[in-house]
């Protein structure tokens, strides 16, 4: 009993990691650099590993990592195969197709230059950082608590966000169950084809669960009464402010001193990203 009370005290405010994610998102978009993306990605993974728990939303993080890896691979592949020709040293050549004049300036296959690889890597790393930021936020914040702190005026937004943020992690749990069931039908549940077979029941179940949750919220008066009260309010304390200030200072630093050394910047950013893990 005592452990759960202490666990609760240690938890950050339910909105904390979402604000943290938004701050990092701004930094990511403003800087638009592969180095920043990499240090944010590394920081996000490190932070999640620093705060382990056995909740289902935490467990979903490993699926997010797979998703990020998939996004990276696809983006790199597309970057190499399709795009406008770029100058630079030719690293290797893949068989290409000459497109009709209509698609002037676009090529399929052909020479792969160092410039092309770098640009593909840059964009892929942004994508990975974007996915990991939100994956970390949803792995570290309790979707149920999130619902309780949202202003209830925004009923629709709240509901949609909660469903989105709780369905994905819960689906990770369903996936395990359905994959176990797949084996009971004599199938090896690896390979691309099995994803469809696992995906359909899982999606159907999430849909059902979302409808049930929405019905429950609705029949319990969520969002209908103008002044909801709090049973045990969540308090935004100094700790939250300090932990969030890390990324914010990093952001300001970045904006004021564009000429700062890249490595220092990345190190600083990495430190800022994992601040919440160091504080609690």
């Amino acid at each position: 009993m005592r452990t759960s009370r202490r666990a609760r005290k240690e938890n950050f405010h339910p909105l904390f990691f979402w604000l943290w994610a938004i701050t990092l998102l701004v930094i990511l978009l403003v800087s638009n650099s592969a180095l920043v993306s990499l240090s944010i990605s590394a920081g996000a993974i490190a932070l999640v590993l620093m705060k382990p728990s056995n909740t289902y939303w935490y467990q979903s993080f490993r699926w997010s990592i797979r998703l990020a890896a998939l996004a990276f691979t696809l983006r790199m592949a597309f970057g190499v195969i399709i795009g406008v020709p770029m100058p630079g040293r030719v690293l290797f050549t893949i068989p290409g197709i000459t497109l009709p004049d209509l698609f002037v300036g676009i090529r399929l296959g052909g020479d792969v230059t160092s410039q092309r690889l770098i640009s593909a890597f840059h964009e892929a790393s942004l994508l990975v950082a974007l996915i990991l930021i939100f994956a970390a936020a949803s792995a570290l914040s309790n979707p149920h608590e999130f619902l309780r702190v949202l202003p209830r005026k925004y009923y629709g937004i709240g509901l949609a966000t909660v469903i989105a943020s709780s369905v994905a992690p819960q689906s990770a749990r369903s996936i395990q169950r359905v994959r176990a069931a797949r084996r009971l039908r004599g199938e090896n549940s690896t390979g691309i084809a099995s994803y469809r077979k696992v995906g359909i029941p899982v999606l159907e179940e999430s849909l059902e669960r979302s409808i049930d949750l929405a019905a429950s919220l609705e029949s319990r008066g969520y969002g209908y009464f103008p002044n909801p009260s709090r049973y045990r309010p969540h308090i935004w304390r100094l700790r939250e402010t300090l932990a969030l200030a890390g990324p914010i200072y990093a952001l300001i630093f970045l904006l004021l001193l564009p000429a700062v050394s890249g490595v220092l910047l990345a190190g600083l950013l990495l430190f800022a990203v994992i601040t919440p893990g160091l504080i609690s």
């Binding site: 176990a180 029941p201 949750l213 609705e218 319990r220 009464f225 049973y231």
Partner: protein
């Protein structure tokens, strides 16, 4: 308290109306039971009362429904939150919070109740449902019965006048069900609460109810005193069936009433010839299992069981006693820490995917997990392919098992019983030696259960096949099982013939054996056999 005047409900694109021109009144302080076949519209009727239909789910509604003076047409479900509490079929899906206390407080927060009053109310409800020791626990760690109590507490905290429950005991073991029902009974009597509950397992609730609403499924609805409805209802608990078989001319609602009406029947029944048992199919030798990495809590500890060909073995025990874990041993999906499992002398972990289905057919708790086709036809074709049998085989088995719905229907849209039948035919077409069913009767009506019982007996008619079921359903066990194994806290506490084991424990005794304690009968089919031999 609740008035339906000329209410009709139809879903868009549906062929039949759920209810048609229905009028009735429910009085304050009544405990009402809602019965009907699966898919007859029990859940829809409950949702009509708190306005989830049509406001949330859709549907075309005519007529007028009035709850405590408010018309559900004019206001949304949220505005009824202070009058009507509803507990859905899967409470876990409706939980908004992950801590017991916060979950209970949620409705009060929404209604904007002052914090001091809120604390007091939460405290009262925690006491009422005996949840105080669990208040800071994580909901997902609680047992099914505890979760059900949390859901009821969360619905009761606003002091509603009406409480609606959709199959509150279907996932619970007999003792947990008893507990939930006696709490409801007390609420009705102490607080004058109006309770309407939908339930398939009438034997559990019938003693508590005042009146019954019977939904026929063709749009008509009957409301009347329990005795009157049950005397002509196609859906009746074993006790009522028993009274009809003995032509008592009265409808007993409790064991006590039955014994009062019933003549002294004390016959020694001719024992049925014992089955010829085949070879051992499943052998589990001193197995321990744990989901905990530190091995602190054990799901199974030192369990040994044996299942032979031709046998139907039932696994019973409280929620969380380790039943599912034990079943999973047979397909090599349990986290074993000790001991060995043999299916026909082979370790199930050594089976390849294609081999597994020829040895063990396993239907998990949600039979839908096995399905992924977009129609029954497609599902059966996929199964033929998976199981490597000639095409059309699975469909043939399915149509032998039961009257099948349209081939184009989606497996999610068919009834619970039909879905279970589909899953059963899929695994049967691979001809496994051992058929395992985890909690098969959840959500099944009596009719679907009868079909299941016939099918299970059919499967084990040859001595090269065995069935292992985990269930809370005492009446099912009494009808089909040859042997019962009781699990408690991961240990086997009883293993013996179903007659002896069931009769030995009052909480798990089926209605027939409670009603006629001087006989060795435990099921209606025992009684039928006796009556036919007598004539």
């Amino acid at each position: 308290m609740i008035t339906f005047s000329n209410v009709s409900l139809i879903y868009p694109n549906a062929e039949r109306t759920i209810v048609e021109n229905v009028s009735f009144t429910v009085n304050e302080g009544e405990l009402l039971l809602l019965i009907g076949h699966t898919g007859a519209g029990k859940s829809s009727l409950l949702k009509l009362i708190n306005g989830l239909i049509p406001h949330h789910t859709g549907g075309i509604l005519t007529g007028e429904i009035n709850v405590a003076g408010r018309s559900t047409r004019a206001i949304k479900p949220g505005e009824l939150a202070d009058i009507v509490g509803i507990v859905g079929q899967n409470p876990i899906n409706g939980f908004v919070s992950d801590i017991v206390e916060d979950e209970i407080a949620f409705s009060l927060e929404s209604l904007g109740v002052a914090p001091e009053i809120m604390r007091k109310r939460v405290e009262e409800v925690l006491d009422l449902l005996a949840l105080a020791p669990l208040r800071r626990r994580n909901i997902s760690e609680l047992s099914g019965g505890e979760q059900q109590r949390v859901a009821i507490a969360a619905a009761l905290v606003t002091n509603p006048k009406v409480l609606l429950l959709d199959e509150p005991t279907s996932a619970l073991d007999p003792s947990a069900a008893e507990e939930v029902l006696s709490i409801l009974h007390r609420l009705v009597h102490d607080l004058g609460l109006t309770v309407i509950l939908a339930e398939h397992r009438l034997e559990r609730v019938i003693g508590f109810v005042d009146r019954i609403i019977l939904i026929h499924g063709d749009g008509t609805v009957d409301l009347g005193p329990a005795r009157q409805i049950l005397s002509k209802s196609p859906i009746a608990p074993p006790l009522v069936e028993l009274a009809k078989k003995f032509e008592l001319g009265q409808i007993p609602l409790s064991i006590r009433e039955f014994r009062k009406f019933a003549p002294e029947i004390s016959e020694t029944m001719v024992q049925a010839a014992g089955k010829n048992l085949g070879d051992t199919i499943l052998a589990i030798n001193s197995v321990s299992a744990s989901y905990d990495q530190d091995l602190r809590s054990k799901a199974l500890s030192d369990v040994s069981i044996k299942v032979s060909g031709g046998e139907i073995v039932a696994l019973m025990g409280r929620n969380g006693a380790g039943k599912t874990t034990l079943l999973k041993c047979a397909v090599g999906q349990a986290p074993l820490t000790k001991g060995e499992v043999r299916v026909k002398a082979r370790d199930p972990k050594s089976f390849t995917d294609k081999e597994l289905i020829r040895f063990v057919g396993y239907i998990p708790q949600d039979a839908g997990d096995l399905l992924y086709g977009q129609s029954i036809k497609q599902e059966c074709d996929l199964a033929d392919l998976d199981n490597g049998v000639e095409s059309g085989r699975t469909l043939a088995i399915y149509s032998d098992l039961m009257k099948i719905p349209s081939l184009n229907s989606h497996p999610r849209d068919i009834s619970e019983g039909q879905r279970l039948g589909l899953a059963l035919s899929i695994i049967l077409s691979a001809q496994p030696a051992l058929v395992i069913l985890d909690e098969p009767t959840r959500g099944l009506d009596y009719e679907a259960k009868k079909v299941l019982i016939t099918n299970l007996k059919q499967i084990t008619s040859e001595s090269n096949r065995a069935v292992l079921i985990s269930t809370h359903d005492v009446e099912l066990v009494a009808e089909v099982a040859d042997r019962v194994i009781f699990l408690a806290d991961g240990e086997v506490i009883a293993d013996g013939g179903s007659r002896e084991v069931l009769k030995a424990s009052p909480a798990f005794a089926p209605q027939v054996s409670k009603a006629l304690p001087n006989n060795s009968w435990i099921s209606l089919s025992d009684v039928e056999r006796y009556l036919s031999e007598k004539n």
